[in-house]
Amino acid sequence: MNSVAFLTYDMPQTPERLREITVADLPALARGCAVLGTGGGGEVESGALIALSALEKHGPVPLVTLDELPDDGLVLPLGGIGAPTVGHEMIHGIHEAYLMREAIEEALGATAVAVMSSEIGGGNGVVPVALAAQLGLPLVDGDEMGRAFPEVQMVSTNVAGLPIEIIGLVDVIGNVTILRPTDWEWAETISRMVSVAAGSYALMADNVISAGRMRGAIIEGTVSQAIRIGRVTEGAADPVAALVGELGAAKLITGKVVEVERRTGGGFVRGSVVIDGIGDDVNRIVRLEIQNENLVAFEDGVVLASVPDLITVVDMHTAGAIATELVRYGQRVSVLAWACDPLWRTSRGLEVVGPQAFGYDLDYVPVEEAARAFI
């Protein structure tokens, strides 16, 4: 295993790690998750309403670190799998979280002690707040991506070398599937088929393991981070500058969207967006390549940033994140790019989510080098 080196990596200490999530935190959480969604991850608004309903009924959700959980207690890494459009119509039922816990606890003969978001980017970063509230469990301040990715195997526990043991799927009808796949690729294939059979949307627990084994194999602090990102733009005189400061991001360009192209292929929405610079960036043109998420930014054929580093398009005035399907001609935007978690930059990490994993014949160059000029 070459995965040990990064396990000792310390997340930057945050002065204001939150201890619980209340109704008042939800708008900021939703905005922050949209920014971390890098254009994908599904819309956050209905997720925020799901969380609102649950918190109004059950009260605030405690936010914990893995260190605070018993070694042998199970952590449920939850998120929706399927088509975001479907999730916008066929909202979760309150039975799903209970059925999931019951089935997982029975299968593994252990007790669930916390819920975690499997994917902090987009709606999947927000909904687990509701699931934790419904189950009366705390929420882990962390996730398995630190952003949004499209497939089941694109999670930190995979990169950390943990085997895939068990996946749970619960649909809105109430069908429960417990899956013991032979490897991560089969986990993706079968999970996808189950979600399609259930109307293209299901709740998924992506590789349930104990808190003790999960330590060092997730990206910590991302729930607090999302809320901080959502808060920093509130009332800021220059919201984009405030967001850039919070993320430590490179501002690749500020300009006008002059071209948007979309097409479907392999279940993904692929396409590209061209931004023509204005103000200080006049006479510059940046092109984004998209597969659900924003994956690569080019200028004159040179890569400025690429997956797994994060690339988000924001409104140049409000700094609100713009999802890839809502980008359109004439919008005034800033394109921000910033460093992913170091775990994704290991050789195993790049194998799973580097540019080549998405079909780009590119060598990964960290954004702080590739976009040095814009930091």
């Binding site: 979760h92 279940g267 929405v269």
Partner: protein, 520 residues
């Protein structure tokens, strides 16, 4: 004796705004015959009566008026002020799905209290491919309906994926009629909105609550017309710049929300004779920019909140900038607005003997208009010239933001401050200043297009073409229901959005059809 067509060659557009009720009479060639501006009255009827009286004086024979079109903010005001709203029994069909967000979640408490006669989340609903989530629980729905009998004025029914399969909502609609009779109003969500359950449900509930308001406005207009012995066909303006027949409007009153800005943009099209343009409505404090595509306002993709409730209505895509006739010019002329003297222009501006430098002063000093009662001191010249240059740059920037593509389009300027816009604006092929630009909104109400919209998910592959054709037919059918001539209705917009992560590649299509009103 004129032929029957000639005898009905005029139409009247009335726009009931917050401040003024405007009316215009247009002839068959869309030329303004006469117009008026009257103060809006609290009861609406008074302002309408006065406006109608004023324009009828300008034509010799009221019987020549074949149609009356009304643009009104009554629905918006009713929701914002929580007045005159009906009590709605809210039914959602989809459990056990969707129970994580019950109906009316996140509604403002007072609006919910004003509208809800009770809520039910019943078992039923569909998956995206038309399979059932659960069998419809008609017994439960019947018991709920019996419990609201006597308290509910209307029923709103929203089923999961009803835009894909309508049958269930229709059957529940029949049950509503069976239990509560014909006197309650009924709103079915697949007739109101698109995929996106919570927004569609909210829109359906608001629509159901507005039936009484629609009846009141319709009644007021009928009364004013019958006092004059007139029996024209009557229409309401809707939020996309088209019309709906009175009967259609009474079923979908929520569609009148947002018709104000749409009317201004549409009116600019009629007055200028251009179909593709950017429109600037220059007022005293702000300028609103919109875009005309094939004679209709471009719609915004941003979600719309009405009275604090998220909906999925499409509103005209409008941006406002703080530039108008009363806008302040700073001491050094480098900053313009957003502060404005507003309605005090006539006393505070330099050209009216006041001491405040405004954009109107800058426009007059720059030779773009000549009005006012005082001359401007020479010491202001440089400051005003600089301020006007700053304003010109802001106009140009807004035009660029609203532009659709690389091709330049004309800029149509309307409103009282239209003279402020220079004759050359970067990004615009030309600047058009139509006559009667003061009453562009009433002219916009008097337009002669009706439209319909349809939203569907279709397979991307075999059958795609047929499915899109079907969606187009549905949109045309809706347009005809709204009053369009079946022989000349056409598709004016077709948006295809690829969907991700589905078993088979699929596309969401959104189609809009529009056509001239059929002759009566």
């Amino acid at each position: 004796m004129p032929s029957s067509n000639q005898s009905k060659d005029l139409r009247i557009g009335i726009d009931v705004g917050g401040t003024n009720t405007d009316a215009v009479v247009l002839d068959a060639q869309d030329q303004v015959v006469t117009w008026t501006k009257q103060p809006t009255t609290d009861d609406v009827t008074g302002g309408m009566r006065a406006a109608l009286a004023a324009v009828l004086e300008g034509i010799n024979d009221p019987s020549r008026v074949g149609r009356v079109m009304l643009g009104t903010t009554a629905a918006t005001n009713a929701i914002v002020e929580r007045r005159r709203l009906g009590k709605v029994a809210v039914i959602r069909i989809g459990a056990p799905a969707t129970t994580a967000v019950p109906p009316l979640t996140a509604w403002p408490d007072d609006l919910r209290a004003a509208i809800s006669a009770g809520e039910l989340l019943a078992r039923g609903g569909y998956l995206i491919d038309g399979r059932r989530i659960a069998p419809t629980d008609f017994d439960e729905i019947r018991r709920f309906l019996e419990s609201v009998a006597g308290t509910a004025d209307a029923v709103a029914v929203t089923g999961v994926f009803s835009p894909v399969v309508h049958d269930e909502e229709r059957k529940v609609g029949e049950l509503v009629r069976e239990v509560l009779g014909e006197s309650v109003a009924l709103s079915l969500s697949h007739e109101i909105g698109q995929i996106g359950l919570l927004e569609r449900e909210n829109s359906t509930v608001l629509n159901a609550a507005l039936h009484g308001v629609a009846r009141d406005v319709t009644g007021a207009l009928s009364q004013v017309l019958s006092e004059r012995g007139m029996q024209p066909a009557t229409f309401f303006a809707q939020n996309d710049g088209t019309l709906m027949a009175m009967e259609y409007a009474s079923r979908y009153p929520v569609l009148t929300i947002g018709s104000g800005p749409a009317n201004s943009i549409r009116g600019a099209a009629v007055l200028s004779g251009v179909e593709d343009a950017i429109v600037a409505d220059v007022g005293g404090t702000t300028t609103d920019f919109g875009v005309l595509i094939k004679g209709l306002p471009r719609e915004s993709t941003a979600p719309v909140r009405i009275g604090g409730v998220a909906t999925n209505f499409r509103m005209p895509d409008v941006i406002s900038i703080g530039l108008g006739g009363g806008t302040l010019v700073s001491d050094d002329g480098e900053r313009v607005g957003p502060q404005s003297v507003g309605h005090r222009l006539g006393s505070e501006a330099l050209i009216f003997g006041g001491s405040v430098a405004t954009l109107s002063d800058a426009g007059v000093a720059g030779g773009r208009a000549s009005f006012g009662s005082s001359s401007i001191g020479a010491s202001y010249a440089e400051r005003l010239a600089r301020g006007l240059a700053v304003a010109d740059a802001m106009f140009g920037d807004a035009v660029d933001v609203m532009s659709l593509g690389k091709a330049e389009r004309p800029l149509v300027v309307v409103g009282g401050g239209a003279f402020l816009v220079p004759d050359v604006v970067p990004g615009a092929s030309q600047v058009i200043r139509p006559d009667h630009a003061d009453v562009a909104n009433a002219v916009g109400a008097a337009i002669a297009l009706a439209s319909g919209r349809w939203d569907a998910i279709v397979p991307d592959g075999l059958g795609r073409r047929d499915a899109i054709d079907r969606a187009c037919d549905m949109a045309k059918q809706r347009a005809v229901q709204a009053g369009a001539d079946p022989n000349s209705v056409e598709i004016v917009e077709l948006v295809e959005i690829p969907l991700s992560y589905l078993s088979e590649p699929a596309i969401r299509v959104n189609v809009k059809a529009a056509g001239p009103l059929s002759w009566i």
